[in-house]
C-alpha cells in the first residue's frame, strides 16, 4: 500500500510540474513576432525569444560560429543599431569593452525581444549552406587527415584564398575549418583536420568514411590573400598549413611576379606534412621559398635532396631568414602562442601592423 502511495505521489508531482511548465510556455511566457532589419535594407519577421543566430538561420542567413553557440569563439558578432539590450556577462567576457559600447553583441547569446536593427558584414549575406560527400581521405600525419569533399548542392563554391567554412557534424556543434584546397578548383574543397584528444568534432570527423555526407556553411573570414605587389610571408604552425595552400597557389599562378615565402613550424618531422611538395616547388618556382623548422628536434635535419630543416621555433626561423625592411605582407595561422611570438618578430622586422593577418586555431 505504501509503495502505491509513494508511486502516486511521485508521479503526480512530476505530472503536475510538467503540466505547469507546458501551460506557462504555451500561454504565459509567449513572445510576439518582431521585425529584424539587417543592414538597413532587408527586413525579416522572427518569433521573439530566440537568439539572433537562430532567427537569421531561419531566413537562410548564416552567421559564422566555431563553438556551437556557447559564446566562446566570438565569431558570431553582430552590431545592434536599434533595440540594444544590456550585455550578458558571457558577452562581456568575450568582446572588448570598446566593442560592447559600440553595440556589438554575440549573435548566439543576444535574443530578439523587440524590433531590432542589426548590421552584419555584407559577405555573410551571400554565405550558403553546402552539402558535400567525402570522396577521398588521406592520412597526412599520425593525427592529421585530409578530407576531399565533392560538392553535391550547390555544385560550386566561390571563396577567397585563406577563408574557412563552418562544419556542423553533430547538430548544434559547429567548428571552423580552413579551406585547404585551391581556389581555381570550384567543384570540391578539402579540409585538413587535426584530431584533438577528446575533441568532439575533430574526433567525429576522423571517424568519417568515404562517401559519407557532410554539411557546411561558408565561406567566411577576413583572413584572405589581398591583391597587391607586396611579398607574401606565410607563417604556419602544424595544421595551420591548411589555408596557406590556396594562398601560395594563388600567388604563384595568378599574381605575376609576386614573391611568396612559407615558414612552416611543427614539433617533429612526423608532425609535418606535404613538405616534399614544397621542397620540389622551390626548385620549380624562383619566386617561392620554403623555410621549415622543427621545435622539438635537437639536430638540424637534412632531406635527401639536400634541403635543410632547421631546429627551433618558427619565429626564430623568421628572425634569421626574413630580410629586414622587405616590402612584406604576412599571413599567419596556427596555435595562439606561435602567432603572438611570430607577430612580434614580424613587427621587429618592420612589417606594418595593418599588413599582418592571422587566424588563431
Amino acid at each position: 500500500m505504501t509503495y502505491l502511495f509513494s508511486l502516486m505521489v511521485m508521479n503526480g508531482l512530476i505530472v503536475l510540474i510538467l503540466v505547469l511548465l507546458i501551460l506557462i510556455k504555451r500561454y504565459i511566457a509567449v513572445y510576439d513576432d518582431y521585425s529584424v532589419t539587417i543592414n538597413g535594407d532587408m527586413e525579416i519577421t522572427v518569433h521573439g525569444g530566440q537568439t539572433i543566430v537562430s532567427s537569421l538561420t531561419q531566413s537562410k542567413i548564416f552567421l559564422p560560429s566555431a563553438c556551437g553557440g556557447k559564446g566562446t569563439c566570438g565569431l558570431c558578432q553582430v552590431k545592434v543599431v536599434e533595440g540594444l539590450t544590456d550585455p550578458l556577462s558571457i558577452e562581456e567576457a568575450v568582446l572588448p569593452y570598446k566593442d560592447i559600447i559600440e553595440g556589438k553583441r554575440l549573435g548566439c547569446q543576444t535574443k530578439v525581444r523587440g524590433d531590432m536593427k542589426i548590421e552584419v558584414p555584407e559577405e555573410y549575406l551571400s554565405v550558403k549552406e553546402y552539402r558535400g560527400s567525402i570522396s577521398n581521405i588521406v592520412t597526412l600525419t599520425h593525427d592529421i587527415n585530409r578530407f576531399d569533399i565533392d560538392l553535391i548542392e550547390p555544385k560550386e563554391i566561390d571563396f577567397k584564398s585563406g577563408q574557412y567554412v563552418v562544419v556542423e557534424p553533430i547538430p548544434g556543434e559547429t567548428r571552423a575549418y580552413s579551406i585547404a584546397s585551391i581556389r581555381r578548383r570550384r567543384e570540391k574543397i578539402s579540409l585538413e583536420v587535426k584530431k584533438i584528444p577528446n575533441g568532439i568534432c575533430s574526433t567525429y570527423l576522423h571517424a568519417l568514411k568515404e562517401k559519407d555526407e557532410l554539411n557546411f556553411y561558408g565561406p567566411y573570414g577576413d583572413f584572405y590573400l589581398r591583391k597587391n605587389d607586396h611579398k607574401v610571408v606565410c607563417v604556419a604552425g602544424g595544421v595551420g598549413l591548411a589555408p596557406m595552400k590556396s594562398i601560395i597557389d594563388e600567388v604563384i599562378n595568378e599574381h605575376q611576379g609576386r614573391r611568396v615565402e612559407l615558414y612552416y613550424g611543427a614539433r617533429t618531422i612526423d608532425d609535418m606534412y606535404d613538405y616534399e611538395k614544397y621542397i620540389s616547388m622551390t626548385g620549380k618556382h624562383e619566386n617561392f621559398k620554403f623555410y621549415p623548422a622543427l621545435s622539438e628536434v635537437e639536430e638540424v635535419l637534412h632531406h635527401p635532396t639536400g634541403f635543410v630543416f632547421d631546429t627551433g621555433f618558427i619565429n626564430n626561423e623568421i628572425a634569421s631568414k626574413l630580410k629586414n625592411g622587405d616590402d612584406c605582407e604576412a599571413y599567419l595561422c596556427g596555435p595562439p602562442v606561435m602567432i603572438d611570438f611570430s607577430i612580434q618578430t614580424l613587427r621587429d622586422k618592420g612589417v606594418p601592423e595593418e599588413r599582418i593577418f592571422y587566424d588563431k586555431f
Binding site: 509513494s6 505521489v9 512530476i14 506557462i24 525569444g49 544590456d86 525581444r113
Partner: protein, 193 residues
C-alpha cells in the same frame, strides 16, 4: 518575534550556508571572479532558496507527513527544485529582461546547487514553523550572497598579489574560503543560535 530575528541573523552570519556548511561550493568558486557576476549569482540563489523552501515546506507538511511518506523527501525536493528553477527562468526571461541579464542566466546552474537542497533538508531537521522557515531561507540566501560577493572582492585584490602557482585559481580560493569561515566564526559570540 525575537526568535525570528535571531534565526534570520544566525543564518546570515553564524550558520552561513557557504562558510560554515561549505555548501554550494561549485558556483562559489567558479563565479566569484568578478563582483557583478557574483552578485547576480547570489541574487539568483536567494530567490530560488526562498521560493523552493516555501514550496518544499508546504509539500512536506501537507502531503508527505499526513501520508507517512517522509522518506521520499529527498527525491521530491530535488524534482521540485528543478521544476521551480525552470518555471522561474521562463518567467523572468519573458517579463523581466533586465533582471534576466543580471541573474537569469545563472538560474540553470542553480538546479544542481547543493545549498538549495541542503536548506530544504535542514529546515525539516530543525522542525521550523512556517514563519521561521521563511526567515531562515531568506537569511541563508542573503548569507550566501554576502559570502560570494565578499569572496569576489577578495579575489580581485588577489590579482595584485602572486600566490604560489601550484595553488592554482581554485586552490587559493578554497584557502581564502577557509579564512573567511574563520572570520565568520567570530560572529558566534554575539548570537546564541
Amino acid at each position: 518575534m525575537k526568535m525570528l530575528i535571531l534565526i534570520f541573523f544566525a543564518s546570515i552570519l553564524t550558520n552561513n550556508i557557504a562558510l560554515t556548511y561549505f555548501l554550494g561550493m561549485c558556483p562559489f568558486i567558479a563565479i566569484s571572479k568578478n563582483t557583478k557576476a557574483a552578485s547576480g549569482m547570489g541574487m539568483a540563489v536567494t530567490y530560488v532558496m526562498v521560493i523552493t523552501a516555501i514550496v518544499n515546506y508546504s509539500i512536506y507538511s501537507f502531503v508527505l507527513v499526513p501520508m507517512g511518506l517522509e522518506y521520499l523527501s529527498f527525491l521530491i525536493f530535488i524534482i521540485v527544485i528543478a521544476g521551480i528553477v525552470q518555471v522561474l527562468e521562463m518567467l523572468v526571461e519573458r517579463f523581466f529582461p533586465v533582471l534576466y541579464v543580471s541573474f537569469g542566466i545563472f538560474l540553470p546552474l542553480i538546479t544542481v546547487n547543493c545549498a538549495i537542497l541542503g536548506l530544504s533538508l535542514f529546515m525539516i531537521l530543525r522542525d521550523y514553523s512556517f514563519l521561521e522557515m521563511v526567515f531562515y531561507s531568506l537569511g541563508s540566501g542573503l548569507g550566501w550572497w554576502l559570502a560570494i560577493v565578499a569572496m569576489a572582492g577578495l579575489r580581485r585584490t588577489l590579482m595584485l598579489s602572486e600566490p604560489l602557482e601550484s595553488l592554482g585559481d581554485a586552490g587559493i580560493t578554497v584557502i581564502l574560503a577557509g579564512f573567511m569561515a574563520l572570520g565568520f566564526f567570530g560572529f558566534s559570540g554575539i548570537l546564541p543560535v
